[in-house]
Each structure stands twice: as structure tokens, then as C-alpha cells.
């Protein structure tokens, strides 16, 4: 199980979601993408994207600099 990290600090939505979608398309089923984003809209939109695209939202971590990272697993 591998994990792809995306750094979207300073990037406004919907760009982090577009990058997330592209990254998920490039990984295998069961692998994860972790997107680090400080746009507050990402907190809602990553989870909404998972629901709309039938992928799994794993959860949120906080980086040492306080910026949240949202983890998504490809399930289909």
C-alpha cells in the first residue's frame, strides 16, 4: 500500500481537489493520497469529493506547521 503526498499550501479551492482527483486516478486500488491544504474549503470539499466519486475518506491529520492533511483511499 503506497501513499502519494500532495502539497497544496497556499492553493485555493477547487485547485487542491483537481490535484487530488488527478493523483487518485494515477494510483492503485487500496493506495492513498494525502493532500495538505490550508484553504478552509478543502476540509469540506475533500470529503464531498469522496462522496461524489465513491472513494473513501480516511481522515484528517495536522502537520507540525498546523496545516491539515486530508487522506483519501482509492477504493474503486
Amino acid at each position: 500500500m503506497s501513499r502519494v503526498d500532495l502539497d497544496c499550501r497556499g492553493v485555493p479551492c477547487p485547485r487542491p481537489i483537481i490535484e487530488l482527483a488527478k493523483a487518485v486516478a494515477g494510483i492503485g486500488v487500496g493506495d492513498t493520497v494525502a493532500v495538505t491544504a490550508d484553504d478552509p474549503a478543502a476540509r469540506v470539499d475533500v470529503e464531498a469529493w469522496c462522496r461524489m466519486r465513491q472513494q473513501e475518506y480516511v481522515g484528517e491529520q495536522t502537520d507540525p506547521d498546523g496545516v491539515p492533511t486530508y487522506v483519501v483511499r482509492r477504493v474503486s
Binding site: 488527478k22 484553504d39 478552509p40 469540506v44
Partner: protein
Amino acid sequence: MLRQALERGYADPRRLHRPARDARLLLDNARAVVADCLGVRPDEVTFTPSGTHACHLGVLGLLAGRVRQGNLLLATQVEHSAVLHAGQWHEQRGGRFETVPVDRAGRIDLDSLAAHGEPAVLAVQSANPEVGVCQPLDEVAGGTDAPLFVDACASTGLLPLTDGWAAAAASAHKWGGPAGVGVLLVRKGARWRNPFPGDERVDDRSTGFENVPAALAAAAALRAALDERQRLAEEHARLIEHLAQAVRAIPDTEVFLDDGPRLPHLIAFSCLYVDGEALVTELDRLGFSVASGSACTASSLEPSHVLAAMGALTHGNVRVSLGRATDSAVVHRLAGELPGVVERLRAQAGAPR
């Protein structure tokens, strides 16, 4: 009507001279018309400088009347910012303020409400101004002994006012009246205290000298809105359904159009991978004036608190509201143009297909 009111209603209705008595007569007339339209008593109606101010007076005035019973204000997460700001103001002055979550449609979670225990005051809107869903006010009112504040700004003139509130607020510009006129309703017998500094006037619910001509215009507009409510609601329901079909045909789009009771004139949706500001700007260029709850279109960096509370996609968001003067041909043209606009913006953003 407005002109006659401007000529006769310029004086301060609280003075004793003849122009003042004239103004008082006109103001009482406006109050009686609004009361009749809303099915309330005239002495329950006060004109305020805005819907926002009516919300502040309503929420904080009920709290001020309950200081001996407690200080917890409970409100839904999707209240208008005027109510949420009143809650924060209350909190800054030592009160408690908690919010109740909503479901995916934006409707209050009644189980969560019950789990909160009895607040001093409960604030629940009649309908949400961003997505149009109506709150189940009968169930809310039936399930609590706390005085209920209802922000009815989004629905007044479009839907009948429900019962069960101790105080309520409405806004004239929402029903086609002038800006600068709000309505505060305080139920006879409800414990309400002025939460703000007042003045030497007798009526502490009103904020200074009312704009009498505007209040009269607001009353006339409300009467007119009720006269055409049924016809407009039917026409708007058809147009909204037409728009909904067009939006649902666009891939990766969420339409927030609940099957339950909702405002008849409004539709909101979010398009994946689309920048909300770009969408509003492009639609504006094509001649369509629409609103958005996306963060990039707001004055703050935060996305719409309503969409966030619903767990809905917040980017690429558009809200279309129809008015009495909206031409159905324009709505059909919008339905025709939307799929192409969204496709173009997605291609420009390099969105995955």
C-alpha cells in the same frame, strides 16, 4: 402610494402636532396591514431598520427576558449570519451559545436538538436563504418549552408564517419592499426585554424614529406579494424544475433541491472542479445575475457555513433566485447555456474528465 406617504408621513409619529398625528396614522396603518398579512396582532409588529437588526433584537431580547432561567442560546448551524453573530455577541458577554447540526439537506437534526437539553432561547429559521429548505418548525416548537426565535426573513411573502414563536424577524426587501425596513414580531405575553441602549421614546422595541413612508411601501408590497403568491409559486416551481433538470444532466454536480417543503423560487447547486468566482463572472458576462456560496466569491476566505454544515461541495457553487419580474425566457436560456459554461471552465482549469 409611496409619494403620498412621503408627502404626509415625514413627521415624527411620536409628536403631538398635526403632521405627527398624520405620520402616526400612516405608521399604524402600515402595522395593521403587515399584521393582517402575517396573521398576527398589530401590537406584535415593530418596524426596524433591517432584517438583520430585527434578528438581533429578537434573539437578544428573548435572552434578556430569560436571565433568571438560564443563558444558553441554541441555534441551528445554518442560521443567517445575523443570528450567529448575535450568538457570538451573547457569548462575549458571558452567555453560552451552542449550535445544532443539520442533515445533508440542511434540515435541523431533531435528535441532536433533543440531546442538547433545554436552552434559555432556541433560534430556528423558517427557511434557509441559501438552499431554500424549510425547517420543521411545528416539530421544533412542539418539542421544547424554551421561547423560540424564528428568522422568517427568507420566507415571509413566499410562504405562510408558522406558529409557535415567541419572537420572529422579517425583511421587506425580501418580499419586494424597500431596503431599510425590517419587521420584529414579539408575541403578546412573551418575555422580551430591550437588549440594547434605548432612547427616551416610550416603545423600546423600535429603534428611534421609524421610516414611515418606507414602512407603508413595505406593507403595500407585502399585500401585493400575497395577492400573487400562488400564481408566482406555481410559475417558479416549473422554472426551477426546468433548471434542475438541466443542472442534473451536467456530470459531477450536486443539486440542493430537497423533496420536502422549501422556498419555491430558489435553486442552489455546486459543480465539481469549477471555481465559483469564475462561474459567477462568466454567467454575469452572459447576462445572468446569480449568487454564490463559494469562498472565493465571499468577502472572507471561509466557504458558506450553510454548505459546510450540510457536508456539501462548497466550490463551484451557484444560487439562482427568481423574482416576480424574472422572464421565463431568461431562465430557459440559462438552462441552455449552463452545461457549456461548466464544461468550458472545467477544461480551462485542467480538470480531470
